[in-house]
């Protein structure tokens, strides 16, 4: 007997009939050849969130992003007119990486008037134009106008900076983010500038961590010990049911209850939470009032706690009823490895009491994420055994079914499109064992 109403079809999954209800193959998470295809079909062609406008506060502010899944590095910069530009982070002379410090593979950020290549001193303006060539007369008919930095499409949505590495892309960012994106507009992301950012190298396919954060079915079990004993038993008996699931194009969201902020009975939570009035769901005392945009809490439930929005391919935004937000990013580095980033964003605290409540939320996030991350490596290694190849997904795992179907569709469409034969040839050269 469900605690929360489901669609008329009887389940969230059947409400979206194209998903089917059968077991799901995870071959898409354990095949090096398929991973190469995903990189070309997805990461080289869709809008990717690489940061926030607050990271580029003034003229000349820049940051770099290593996008290994597209085998490139991108530099994003604000010019004197206030416009954002993104470029492949590469000098036009002989291909040296343009912006980096100490370690070429590490991301960096800062502020400059021009970009100067470390190798031969070529300089580029903030708009990408080639401004200076060392010993220019030594070159042959060098037209500086033809040697600017190679631009990458860049657009912002609600202060989030996205790039698209496909020079032929014609879908504006807002169209790509669809109804779920439009339904989040107006949320005061710009007021939540107190940032805790975590990063981990995780030994699993990128989709497996999205799977973990796209369902809360695991929460009462994997995280059982994080609740006090009586509460934990109760949670396991009840299990988890989402308030609502919404799919929109390649994107999706799950809306969840959350009765812990503040709890009905103070003895339900740990001693530190009682004193600091905070926990996994964030500080109990809301710092500002927010009129929630329409995509948030779509069931309009009174017990709503958190919404988790997944924007394909690798960007998640969690909106908490306690008025803060959290983002996740998953950056593939191999078929069985990715860089995970979790970023907690709060309204800047005005007192030590508020600051400590945020600290507890951030520390709690890390304790949970460590449990989640290590479980993934255990999943990846067993999937690779192929001892079992198909897996039943329940109705609370609809977003997983949707993610794997969507990623598969991007790959199929890419394979059917122009240029795929060439790419397939390169894939089989790169991964001879897979053919």
């Amino acid at each position: 007997m469900p605690h929360f109403p489901k669609p008329a079809e009887g389940s969230w999954t059947e409400h979206y009939p194209h998903l089917g209800t059968g077991p799901v193959s995870y071959e898409d998470s354990i095949s090096p050849a398929h991973h190469e295809l995903e990189c070309r079909a997805i990461f080289a062609r869709t809008w990717l969130n690489v940061g926030r406008v607050e990271q580029l506060p003034r003229t000349g502010s820049y940051f770099t992003r290593e996008i290994q899944a597209a085998r490139t590095s991108v530099v994003v910069v604000r010019d004197a007119a206030g416009e954002l530009h993104a470029f492949h982070n590469m000098c036009r002379h002989r291909g040296n990486k343009l912006v980096w410090q100490d370690y070429p593979g590490e991301e960096t950020a800062g502020s400059c008037r021009q970009f100067t290549c470390k190798y031969h001193g070529w300089r580029y303006g903030l708009d990408g134009e080639l401004a200076f060539v060392q010993q220019e007369p030594e070159f042959f008919d060098l037209d500086r106008a033809a040697y600017g930095l190679v631009p990458v499409q860049v657009e912002t949505w609600e202060g989030f900076v996205f790039v698209n590495l496909d020079a032929t892309n014609t879908t504006p960012l807002r169209s790509y983010l669809g109804e779920l994106g439009a339904g989040l507009e107006g949320y005061p992301f710009d007021r939540m500038t107190q940032v805790f950012k975590y990063r981990a190298l995780v030994g699993s396919n990128w989709k497996l961590f999205i799977d973990a954060f796209a369902e809360f079915y695991h929460a009462p079990v994997l995280h059982a010990r994080q609740a006090v004993a009586d509460e934990s038993r109760k949670l396991q008996n009840v299990g988890f049911e989402g308030l609502s699931y919404q799919l929109d194009g390649p994107h999706g969201m799950v809306s969840s209850w959350g009765g812990m902020s503040p709890p009905k009975d103070i003895n339900m939570v740990k001693p530190i939470e009682r004193v600091l009035r905070s926990g996994l769901f964030g500080p109990w005392d809301r710092p500002i009032d927010i009129e929630l945009p329409p995509a948030v809490n779509p069931a309009r439930s009174r017990v709503w706690g958190v919404d988790s929005f997944h924007f394909f391919p690798n960007f998640m935004v969690l909106i908490w009823s306690t008025n803060w937000y959290l983002t996740y990013h998953y950056w593939p580095t191999a078929y069985n490895q990715h860089v995970f980033e979790g970023t907690l964003c709060f309204v800047p605290p005005t007192s030590a009491r508020e600051r400590l409540a945020q600290e507890l939320a951030a520390v709690t996030f890390k304790e949970y994420a460590l449990q989640d991350g290590n479980t993934l490596e255990a999943t990846q290694t067993m999937l690779e055994s192929r001892a079992v190849t198909e897996f039943p997904l329940n109705d609370q795992e609809i977003l997983l079914r949707h993610l794997h179907a969507t990623a598969g569709r991007y790959v199929s469409e890419y394979q059917a499109g122009p240029g795929a034969a060439d790419a397939t040839a390169r894939v089989s050269t790169a991964v001879p064992a897979a053919s």
Partner: protein, 121 residues
């Protein structure tokens, strides 16, 4: 015979914490500015050490907050800043003491999750 010089006050290290929290001086090693340092100290401590710190500092947490809230958060005196850092450490060790009964998150193996950005205050 020369007159004895006036007695100089006994040399003592400057107080690390505000006077009303002098009893926390034995835990001064936990007044660490960054999460990376606090987490590293947690992992390299025994449960007895974590329990002793928790037992000493947790009962004072309410008073610490009241004291710190007498200042502007972004204009804390040095000794109060150290008290705030100590409180961050207390938050960090609350998990081993209240939940895990071990310094590490169980089943987290070699997994690491590093802070790459944290607030200055």
């Amino acid at each position: 015979m020369t007159a004895p010089s006036p007695a100089s006050p006994p040399a003592s290290p400057p107080a690390l914490f505000p006077a009303s929290f002098a009893d926390l001086e034995p835990f001064a090693g936990w007044a660490l500015a960054t999460e990376r340092e606090r987490y590293a100290r947690r992992l390299s401590s025994s449960m007895d050490e974590l329990q002793a710190f928790y037992d000493g500092a947790f009962p004072r947490l309410g008073e610490i907050i009241d004291y710190l809230d007498g200042f502007e958060l972004r204009a804390l005196p040095e000794d109060a800043t150290r008290l705030l850092w100590l409180s961050y450490s207390l938050v960090n060790v609350s998990f081993p003491v209240e939940v895990w009964r071990q310094p590490r998150v169980p089943d987290s193996g070699a997994a690491a999750l590093d802070v790459v950005v944290e607030p200055v205050v």
